[in-house]
Structure formats: structure tokens, C-alpha cells
């Protein structure tokens, strides 16, 4: 064997997905479709928050939903029951969505002409944070029963999200969950994160979330397309 040689590379490991995500975001921006990536642990309330959001935006915006799960179509059946265009992407064991899967899902959804597409990512606080899906907005949900230590355990998810929705606040009296501690911990990782406290069961706090989301839509739809 010959001389050993050092090869300098400096290449981003996730660059394939990143390039595809950037291209997808640019295409959707041009088409006027805002893509919203919703992430959380299993059972934190992604589908419930989506259902509330759909009902609040009904008649105002054309919204579609992309559901991702490792198995089953139970979530997409709930959305379809509301008469909303929905596509289920089965990730085939993968624990997160990648931009290629989202692109495939959007084609199946026939998303052109929709104002907004809500993407329900696979329930997982780890991998979805690492993979850009091409979304314009990244939303994470943390539910009270999961505990207030989650920003310490999954810092990346909190640091990349535009908004944190703390769900199931109706459980607070039964819990030692400290919402202020979560807010401080999340802000320490991401000072710009917008935080909402809601209960998808009682509807408490949902209005503030919807108002913020509508504002984001207004910013998106009125800003020059090349600068979005």
C-alpha cells in the first residue's frame, strides 16, 4: 500500500436533505403555500392542535394536512372526517420526515393553490429536529405529563423551533410541572421562541396560538416572494 494521504473534505453530512429542503421551501414560497412543521413526542397533542387549527381557519384559508407516521392511518382519518385534504405518508420505520418525503406528500396532496399545509411529523423529540423538511415555520408541542425537564434533555428541538405550544395545561393541578421553568429553559436555548400555553381538551389558550399563526400567514403572504 502506498503513502497515506490526508484528504480535506469539510462537507455537511446532511447536505443532501438540506439542499432539497431549501429548494422545496423556495418553490412553496413562490406558489404562496406556507408549510408548517409540527413536532412533538408521541401523544403530546399534534393531531388535536391540528384539528383546532383547521376549525379556526375554516372558511378563511385553504389548508391541507400532511400526516406522517411509521404505521397506521388513524390520524389522517380524523382529519379527512373534517373534509380537509389530507395525505398520509408512512415513513416505513423512519422516525422523522425528510424533505424528500414531504415533497412526495405535497405532490400527492396536490398542494398547489393551498394557502397553508400543516405537517404532522413523526412523534419524536430527537430526529425531526435534525432534518429540515422545507417548512417555513417549525412548531413544537410539549405536553404537561412529559415533564418540565424536556428542554434540558432535547435542547436541539427547543433551539430550532419558532414556537413552543405547551399543551394539556388542564393537567397542571395534578402535576408538579412548572410552566415558568419550561419557559425559562426554552428561552435560554432560543430567546426568539414564542411560547403558548394551551389545553386542546378545554380549548383554553388556543385563540392566542391561532392569532399568532394568522399573523405569520399575513407576514408570509404579504412579504416579497424572493425575500420570504
Amino acid at each position: 500500500m502506498g503513502e497515506i494521504k490526508l484528504v480535506e473534505i469539510k462537507e455537511e453530512i446532511l447536505s443532501d436533505n438540506q439542499e432539497l429542503a431549501d429548494a422545496l421551501r423556495a418553490k412553496l414560497t413562490k406558489e404562496g403555500t406556507m408549510l408548517v412543521n409540527i413536532m412533538s413526542s408521541p401523544g403530546a397533542g399534534k393531531t388535536s392542535l391540528i384539528l383546532h387549527t383547521l376549525s379556526a381557519l375554516k372558511g378563511e384559508l385553504k389548508v391541507g394536512v400532511l400526516e406522517a407516521d411509521i404505521e397506521s392511518t388513524v390520524d389522517s382519518e380524523k382529519i379527512a372526517a373534517q373534509g380537509i385534504p389530507v395525505v398520509q405518508v408512512r415513513t416505513g420505520g423512519a422516525c422523522h420526515l425528510e424533505a424528500a418525503m414531504v415533497q412526495y406528500g405535497l405532490e400527492a396532496l396536490d398542494a398547489v393553490g393551498l394557502n397553508m399545509v400543516l405537517v404532522e411529523n413523526v412523534g419524536n423529540l430527537v430526529c425531526p429536529a435534525e432534518f429540515d423538511t422545507g417548512a417555513h415555520l417549525k412548531i413544537m408541542i410539549l405536553s404537561v405529563p412529559e415533564g418540565d425537564d424536556k428542554p434540558l434533555k432535547y435542547p436541539l428541538m427547543f433551539s430550532i423551533s419558532d414556537a413552543l405550544v405547551i399543551n394539556k395545561i388542564d393537567y397542571l393541578p395534578l402535576s408538579d410541572f412548572d410552566p415558568e421553568a419550561v419557559k425559562a429553559r426554552a428561552k435560554a436555548l432560543n430567546p426568539h421562541i414564542k411560547i403558548f400555553t394551551v389545553s386542546c381538551r378545554t380549548g383554553e389558550g388556543i385563540e392566542a396560538w391561532i392569532t399568532w399563526l394568522k399573523d405569520r400567514w399575513r407576514d408570509f403572504s404579504t412579504s416579497p416572494k424572493e425575500r420570504r
Binding site: 494521504k5 473534505i9 469539510k10 462537507e11 455537511e12 453530512i13 430527537v126 433551539s159 430567546p191
Partner: protein, 116 residues
């Protein structure tokens, strides 16, 4: 982190650069990974060993350098690091302010490799 697709991406980059450099064997691959990215070195190595079988990268050793997370305090301007083995703590160690910005720590890069 999902180590398997990540390792597939690493192998793809390694094989591309190995071909470009007419390498007959890859001895070692060096990664730089920020403190804010999760990674288990043992799984990256195991998957790499498995995936690279029959390629010029078969048997290559993966060396991972963890880079610190760097924060900048929005109150006093203090720039501080949290090392690879340190827990992520909250607030500026200088003034205690909670408003801090992540300056780096999300790197995920194949930095270099040794080839024959």
C-alpha cells in the same frame, strides 16, 4: 439522532472523495459534531463498518471531534462555551441573563479522511 441515515450520508461523502482522490483504501474518517447534535459514536462506527463492507472504506476508523456549543449573552455580550461533556445550563455565567443566543454547536461535518 438517527444514526443509520446519517451514517449512509457519511459513507456517500467518503466514497465520493475517495474516488476523486483515487484512493485504494480509506484508513480513517474524521467528523466534527457540535454539542447540540446528538450522536452515539459507537453506533456510527458499527453502522459504518456494516455499510462500508466491500467498498474502499471497509475497515475505516471513524474519529469524532465534538465541538462545544457557543452562546452569546444578549444582555452583557459575554461569549461562553458549553463543552461536549458538560450539561447544557441555563443563562449567562457572567451576568445571569436568560436571553442568550446560540452562536454555534449545530455542526455536522465530515472534516477530513486519511486514505492510501
Amino acid at each position: 439522532m438517527h444514526e443509520l441515515p446519517v451514517t449512509e450520508a457519511i459513507l456517500k461523502i467518503v466514497l465520493k472523495h475517495a474516488a476523486k482522490n483515487n484512493a485504494v483504501k480509506v484508513a480513517c474518517v474524521r467528523l466534527k459534531v457540535g454539542r447540540l447534535c446528538d450522536l452515539e459514536a459507537v453506533w456510527i462506527q458499527n453502522y459504518f463498518t456494516y455499510l462500508s463492507r466491500g467498498t474502499v472504506a471497509e475497515g475505516a476508523k471513524i474519529e469524532i471531534e465534538r465541538l462545544p456549543a457557543v452562546f452569546v449573552c444578549q444582555n452583557c455580550g459575554e461569549k461562553y462555551e458549553i463543552g461536549a461533556d458538560e450539561p447544557i445550563t441555563i443563562g449567562c455565567p457572567h451576568c445571569g441573563a436568560k436571553e442568550v443566543e446560540v452562536s454555534s454547536g449545530r455542526e455536522y461535518v465530515v472534516s477530513e479522511m486519511e486514505v492510501y
